[in-house]
């Protein structure tokens, strides 16, 4: 069973690094088709060409192959006689050699590189329990360009969280490889807001009216592909909410670049 998880990890990473989910490609194509700025149209078309090259050659579409982030949905009836995190770490080490991936994981102070994309706290595994006895594993490699622009704001309950989001995006979008996907965590505590924002990215497709309105407001900024002007600054927004303290209003924004990579493997 451990081998099954190791192999699923390698397969999920292989697909995540060399292709994009269909719904992501679809949104980029639609943005390219309606783009009125020539430079932005150029960029969007080049991005699509890049994905086609990567998929055809089986090579990582971006040299920043990301930090190893995984979402695991584990059946409540499943009993494992091995360490899930060790099995996923083993898959990451193998994937680093065979795909290959760029070694990105370093000690935060010495900056010493582990050379295999693992280390204390890495891979980062977000675990949920679900009904049944299956295991669903999603590789969500997270590049630093967009992750570095992410932030948590501890707002005053009298503040408007959407003003904070739009203002932060206006300032930070260009560095995060737009057009962006934005995961928003609204409420909770300091750290829960950040976790909600990451989960929002994992949960992406489909927008509520509130999310669509925020998306329109962000796109009206005109920041565009790669921050050089254009009609589409964000391709998607998801807001996840939790109750917060009556004195608090935490807001987290997890930036995701246009290359919104993920791939899921289901183990029965």
């Amino acid at each position: 069973m451990k081998e099954t998880v190791v192999e699923a990890t390698v397969r999920a990473l292989q697909r995540a690094e060399t292709s994009l989910p269909d719904w992501v490609l679809q949104r980029i194509k639609e943005a390219a088709a309606r783009e009125s700025h020539p430079l932005a149209r150029h960029h969007l078309q080049f991005m699509l060409e890049n994905v086609a090259i990567a998929t055809a050659k089986g090579l990582p579409l971006c040299q920043d192959t990301g930090l190893a982030v995984f979402h695991v949905q584990m059946g409540r009836e499943l009993i494992l006689d091995f360490s899930l995190s060790e099995a996923i770490a083993e898959g990451v080490r193998i994937a680093t050699r065979v795909i290959p991936l760029r070694p990105n994981a370093v000690h935060p102070q010495t900056r010493q590189n582990s050379e295999d994309n693992t280390g204390p706290g890495m891979p980062d595994i977000i675990l949920d329990y679900v009904d049944g006895r299956g295991l669903t594993l999603t590789a969500f490699p997270k590049g630093a360009g967009s992750e570095n622009m992410s932030l948590v704001g501890m707002l005053n309950p009298a503040d408007d969280p959407f003003d904070f989001i739009v203002k932060s995006v206006a300032k930070r979008a260009a560095n995060a490889c737009p057009p962006l996907f934005l995961g928003i965590g609204l409420g909770g505590s300091f750290d829960l807001a950040a976790r909600l924002a990451k989960r929002a990215l994992l949960n992406m497709p489909g927008e509520s009216q509130e999310e669509r309105q925020l998306l329109e407001r962000i796109n009206s900024l005109g920041i565009g592909a790669m921050g050089l002007g254009g009609d589409t600054t964000a391709l998607g927004i998801k807001i996840e909410k939790a109750f917060c303290h009556t004195a608090s209003l935490p807001v987290a924004i997890n930036f995701q670049c246009w290359a919104n990579r993920s791939a899921t493997e289901v183990i029965q």
Binding site: E49, I53, C62, Q63, D64, R102, G227, G229, C257
Partner: protein
């Protein structure tokens, strides 16, 4: 929007004729450098001559001598080094996200390569050599031979025009804070 196909090393004339918004394709040697290489060069100097050079903010994915994926990294992290790097003779910095425009005036341009497009970039590059390899794959100073490397957009020109700045300013005007 004019399209240019230029060879490195770049001349002063090459830099002067480029205007923000132009498209550029580069051929010839390119040098990569990011966080660690910049910090090291500040202390001990550059291991290569950067006279007329195009410096690429990139941490590539390399297997043996093959470039597998090599798109741009965020230039903003290297902003603190711009002035001294341009002082070494660099005439173009390639990256994504931009850099403050002032140090570029009258001496260099900033070229934006589409971010995230590592696989497409790799097709336009081959390895000529590597320096500072002790810094690891992403942080080494790689010397690439570029073949029509682009499309890049002149985002900051040598005449004081900065496209990122213009876009940011107009975005802020749309939302009154």
């Amino acid at each position: 929007m004019t399209e240019y196909h230029l060879r490195t090393p770049l001349s002063e004339g090459d830099v002067q004729k480029l205007v923000a918004g132009d498209l550029v394709f580069l051929s010839g040697p390119l040098f990569t450098a990011r966080d660690k290489a910049h910090a090291l060069m500040r202390r001990v100097g550059s291991p290569v001559s950067l006279e007329g050079a195009a410096l690429y903010h990139c941490g590539p994915l390399i297997l043996d001598d093959r470039v597998l994926s090599a798109g741009p990294t965020t230039s903003g992290r290297m902003a603190r080094y711009t002035d001294e790097i341009l002082g070494l003779g660099v005439r173009a910095i390639i990256g994504k996200g931009g850099l403050p425009g002032e140090p570029f005036q009258n001496r260099a341009v900033y070229l934006a390569y589409p971010g995230g497009c590592g696989a497409a970039a790799a097709e336009q590059l081959r390895v000529l050599g590597v320096h500072l390899q002790e810094l690891g794959m992403a942080e080494s100073l790689w010397v690439f031979e570029a073949n029509e490397f682009g499309p890049m957009i002149v985002a900051v020109d040598a005449h004081g025009k900065d496209l990122y700045q213009e876009v940011r300013r107009s975005a802020q005007e749309k939302e009154t804070y």
